[in-house]
């Protein structure tokens, strides 16, 4: 019998019998997630299913449009608060942070099956959970039945190698975001549809949880069902830091696992990457983007709003000023990240540089508030999507890049290679 991929292993563990890619299974679910954008419909459907109490822990987040920017949304939140109070739903109030970040910090654990009414639920795959984005109805069904159906996905194994002989890390100024954008460029925006992406290799082993979450977060941008990383020492460190070491257990794919395909990527010479509008797979190297003027820079989101990202941006922005033609917005991904960034003095660096620090949450990513773009404007963002209209205006353009590239570009007012800025300080970026 062939060995198992991470996806097969988790689903087999959860079911207590061996499953393999292609099988249809009905699996008990450990956690469900919804936010104020997807929960109202999920609650409506849940009620239509005639159930009273959810059969599985429900995590509800106010992060997409929080605090409420208009009365309709305030009323939606009011109704959800009432539902949460009645049914022992775990409500995460305004200011707690982005659902995927808080999921990783407080809830997700290796080996779990997680269903979320948000496409980036796959972020929790960084901890070795099988975490799947679905729609509101699927979340309602899971709330009602405590289980849902899945097709066990085929897996594309991605081995990432970087650095020289002594180091398995990434070159200075090159981040997990650049790596995953490069991968999406290789796979195409539908290149992994229905598949799981399993990330491994020396560069991933050396990567902390912040970086792994960036990889898994963008798996869906190649159409994947989820992204996964093994649960190892890094996972243990992260869980320990969050006071949750009790939920840790090691989880790795078998060495003879059957993959649909393997992709080896050497990133030792990878330049910083930029995604051009209007789609995530229009990936170019930063050299090809240099000189493009930007009006707004966003550092944050479930892709790049973590401590690693903010530290990196702060290293570039420390003692510098944001270009007068640019608005710099920084949105820490969670309250935890916000507090740590404050303690380390990072927020002060952003504010002194002339940036605006937003409350923990999605910020302007989904185009509802806190930085909607004007006609013909251009934004460089660390988020994961650059579709037309994504930031609230179809007549605006969104470029995607790493927090290093974003910070450097905020200083110069145009898309800029961050390596010069980091080299000046004589150190790499993987701290």
């Amino acid at each position: 019998m062939a060995g198992q991929t991470l996806a097969e292993k988790i689903l087999s563990l959860r079911l207590g019998r061996t499953v393999e890619a292609g099988d249809l299974v009905v699996v008990p679910v450990d956690l469900v997630l919804a936010h104020e954008g997807t929960a109202p419909l999920a609650v409506e459907r849940f009620r239509a299913l005639g159930k009273r109490e959810p059969s599985v822990p429900v995590l509800l987040f106010f992060d997409h449009a929080a605090p409420a920017p208009r009365r309709e949304l305030a009323d939606v939140q009011r109704a959800l608060r009432a539902f949460a109070a009645r049914y022992r739903v775990h409500l995460h109030e305004v200011g707690t942070g982005i659902c995927h970040q808080v999921m990783a910090e407080r809830w997700a654990a290796p080996g779990q099956v997680i269903v979320g009414a948000d496409s980036h639920t796959c972020t929790a795959g960084a901890l070795g959970a099988f975490a799947i984005g679905m729609g509101s109805t699927d979340v309602a069904v899971t709330m009602a039945l405590g289980e849902n159906w899945f097709r066990v996905p085929e897996t594309i194994r991605i081995d990432i190698r970087g650095g020289g002989k002594d180091s398995d890390g990434l070159p200075p100024g090159v981040t997990p975001k650049d790596v995953v954008m490069r991968l999406i460029g290789l796979l195409g925006d539908d290149g992994a549809t229905y598949k799981a992406l399993e990330f491994g290799g020396p560069a991933v082993e050396a990567m902390d949880m912040d970086g792994r979450m960036t990889l898994c977060n963008m798996a869906v941008e190649a159409g994947a069902k989820t992204g996964l990383c093994a649960s190892d020492g890094m996972t243990w460190s992260f869980l320990t830091e969050m006071g949750r070491e009790a939920v840790f257990f090691p989880l790795a794919p078998d060495s003879d696992a059957e993959y649909e395909r393997r992709l080896e990527v050497d990133v030792s010479d990878l330049p910083p990457q930029v995604a051009f509008p209007p789609s995530v797979d229009r990936i170019r190297s930063v050299e090809e983007a240099e000189g493009i003027r930007v009006d707004q820079v966003l550092i944050g989101t479930c892709t790049n709003g973590r401590l690693f990202d903010l530290r990196l941006a702060a290293r570039i922005l420390a003692g510098r000023k944001v270009h007068p033609g640019v608005r710099l917005l920084v949105a820490p991904a969670s309250r935890e990240v916000y507090l740590r960034a404050a303690r380390e003095g990072l927020l002060e660096i952003f504010v002194r540089a002339g940036g605006a620090v937003l409350p923990p949450g999605c910020g302007p990513c989904v185009g509802v508030h806190l930085g909607v773009l004007g006609e013909g404007e251009r934004c460089l963002s660390t988020q994961n999507r650059n579709f037309p209209g994504r930031m609230g205006n179809p007549e605006a353009e969104i470029y995607l890049a790493s927090p290093a590239t974003a910070a450097a570009s905020a200083v110069t007012g145009e898309i800029t290679d961050p390596r010069e800025f980091l080299r000046g300080k004589g150190e790499g970026c993987e701290e």
Partner: protein
């Protein structure tokens, strides 16, 4: 789900995202599906938002429905009375959402189908006829178990009627093919 549907094609290309289907800036209208549906496909073809009629069909290229998991995407199309979405491929979450809410999907080669063409589609036997241009195409119909969900009008009515996820007949381990 009716076996054969007929309607006029609206033509779209590859990579239509859920942001095209229903832009995030109408977030505040999510509580009012009729108001929301007036903006359906607005960023891909403003004409559609103005003048799509019940029974019309959406015809597109690859990866229809990529991006956000918003279920309002298939819902606004249903609300506008769209008979089916015919595309070369669908993004995974959109696919599941559409079946869940009872919007028929057809995975079919769409080359040569132009805006305004009259199509007749046999969802069960996998035949798409272009009545305007006089050609016919075979496609793989959705598997019977997913058609069973569509037949009940979505997964919620299915569960209410059958008491659970009976449409999924789990394959057991390696004993496949049964």
């Amino acid at each position: 789900m009716r076996g054969v549907i007929r309607g006029r094609a609206w033509r779209f290309g590859d990579g239509i995202t859920t942001d095209h289907i229903i832009p995030g800036r109408y977030y505040h209208l999510r509580d009012d599906i009729r108001a929301l549906a007036r903006h359906a496909m607005e960023d891909a073809d403003p004409d559609f938002a103005r003048s799509a009629r019940p029974g019309d069909l959406i015809v597109a290229g690859k990866n229809f429905g990529q991006g956000s998991s918003r279920e309002y995407a298939p819902l606004v199309l249903l609300e506008r009375g769209i008979g089916a979405v015919v595309a070369e491929s669908f993004a995974r979450i959109f696919f599941r959402n559409a079946i869940n809410v009872g919007l028929p999907l057809v995975i079919c080669d769409t080359e040569g189908i132009e805006a305004g063409d009259e199509l007749e589609i046999d969802l069960e036997w996998g035949k798409a006829r272009n009545l305007t241009r006089g050609f016919e195409r075979d496609f793989n119909p959705l598997p019977p178990w997913l058609r069973a969900v569509l037949g009940e009008g979505g997964v919620v009515p299915y569960i209410l009627k059958h008491g659970g996820l009976g449409f999924v007949r789990p394959t057991r381990g390696h004993e496949k093919g049964g």
